[in-house]
Amino acid sequence: MSGTRALWLAGIAILIALPAVIPTYFLHLVIQILIWAFIYTAWALMGRFGFVSFGHGAFVGVGAYVPALLWTYFDVTPWLGIPLAVVASVLLAVIVGYPCFRRRVVGHYFALVTLALSQVVLLSLVAARDVTGGSLGFTQKTVGHSWYALQFPDKIYFYVIAVLLWLAGLWVWRWIDRGIGREALEAISEDEDAAAAVGIDVMREKMRVTIVSAALTAVGGAIYGQYFMYLNPETVSGIAVSLQIVFAAIAGGVYSLLGPSVGALLTLSLTEGLRVWFGTNYIGAANTIYGILLVLCIIFMPQGIVGALQRIRPRRGSQPKPVAATTPGGITT
């Protein structure tokens, strides 16, 4: 264990030293990676138990827009706005999650219901264009350096916030991983009826992890909004963002603590690297390669990158488990 601890300390030391040695552009990239790593980790809280949500784009969107709109129109500080966004997100998660679990909407059906949820948020943001600016996006009211408005012209503040946020996300992941709830959720994801039969409160466990996941995702969205100041429905909600979350988390591996973060690091540096490499002459080239890599990754490394590494060097207590199977198809004419 001391080896792992030393690695952690080294990692944190690098994170502390990082802003002093890298240029602003890279710091900007690292902040983005940390914020998304936090969101992917939040998604993986559910995803690792087979609750594959394609609706987390909705929570990012709510998290980003609620504080931004409250601040710009009503001068409500993000310190109040962000908790409100979390409440709104959790409400949304409960409204959709509870009936889903109660009515046993699973597998493809769960994925597509949650997909619809992220579309609802995206299209609502576009439709409310008088308030949100629609597809053109929305720029928050700026006041310069202010703790009250959670606005800092200097990136270092957001770097610290992003690092703390990311560490908090990892802590929550570990907290769930260590708790009895994890055993319960794994039992549920393998056989719900059997889990219920041995006395697991299926609904409670499912709702708990869903609420935590949605709340954290909203916080991630809010910090993203505070950092960028400019919001666009397409970049913080909808199918594209939901897929981006699912892909990166799966690519990194959802069964290990650092999997989603590795996913964020790799996918974001890859897209950014390809974007810089190809420049503006070949728009789309970067994502073309990204798409091919995604497909290859799913085919050849279904357990994710970290999962694949762990399979080569197996470790105690972190055996990857396959995602729960779902309903078979069928055709009726």
Partner: protein, 284 residues
Amino acid sequence: MDIYLLEAIINGILLGGVLALLALGLNLIFGVVDVVWIAYADIVMCGMYAIYFLYAEYGVPLPLACLIAIIGVAGLGVLVHLLIIEPVLDSPPLNQLLATGGLLFFLQSFATLLFGTEFRNIGVRLPVLEFASMYVSFARLIAFVVGLIGAVALYVFLKRTYVGTAIRAIAQDREIVGLMGIDQRRVYLVVSAVGGALAGLAACLLALQYDVHPFIGNTFGPVIFMICVLGGLGNMIGGFVASFVISQIIAIGGYYSNTELAYVFAFALFIVLMFIRPRGLFAP
């Protein structure tokens, strides 16, 4: 009744015809291969580009261009099955969903790379029909009629031909069909080709109505999934009926408010209906 509302309802019915065609294709593939092609609408986009370039750029006559597009997209369907679906056939459903999701990213970005993001129109101007002071687009009428013909043709194919029977058999029990001497892999390839051909046919009909651009799949894709799920994934008749339900909601919602809110309403209703009927509206 308000004449404009009636017009919206008629246009909704006509829109339903094309949606039904796409829902049938996606449902066929799901019912048989048991994989949801997230990128199905983007395969349609490829077909629309094919028609645009053949007809508008190279002057190939439109019917021939459509035929080539249908065959081409059918081939693309086979290719997708061989390259992407076959390697993940035994993977968890989630991985299958993600593999075709990766294809979605690829097709959209590759189209952006090749053709840029501008909207392109094949430039066929079909007349607008006036009937009892209501305006109905002729292109939509054609799309509706051809969509229905396509649906009937698929039904006959599944019910009356040997391959069709094999397809239905495999959807009922994929373990037994092997013992009956049916080559499962060949049936999968046929289904992918037929699903592709339906996407190609839909591409012909959509190219008459809409400009093609790399992200046009995002406009139809989510709606088609919604329709398939609402009808019950794999349930052909359910999907067919759901197409018209959803197209009506979108058309009438669009009449009372704006298009985005109509879609919001359709998606929200979809979520609610899934709670009432989790296996689809027409599940037994």
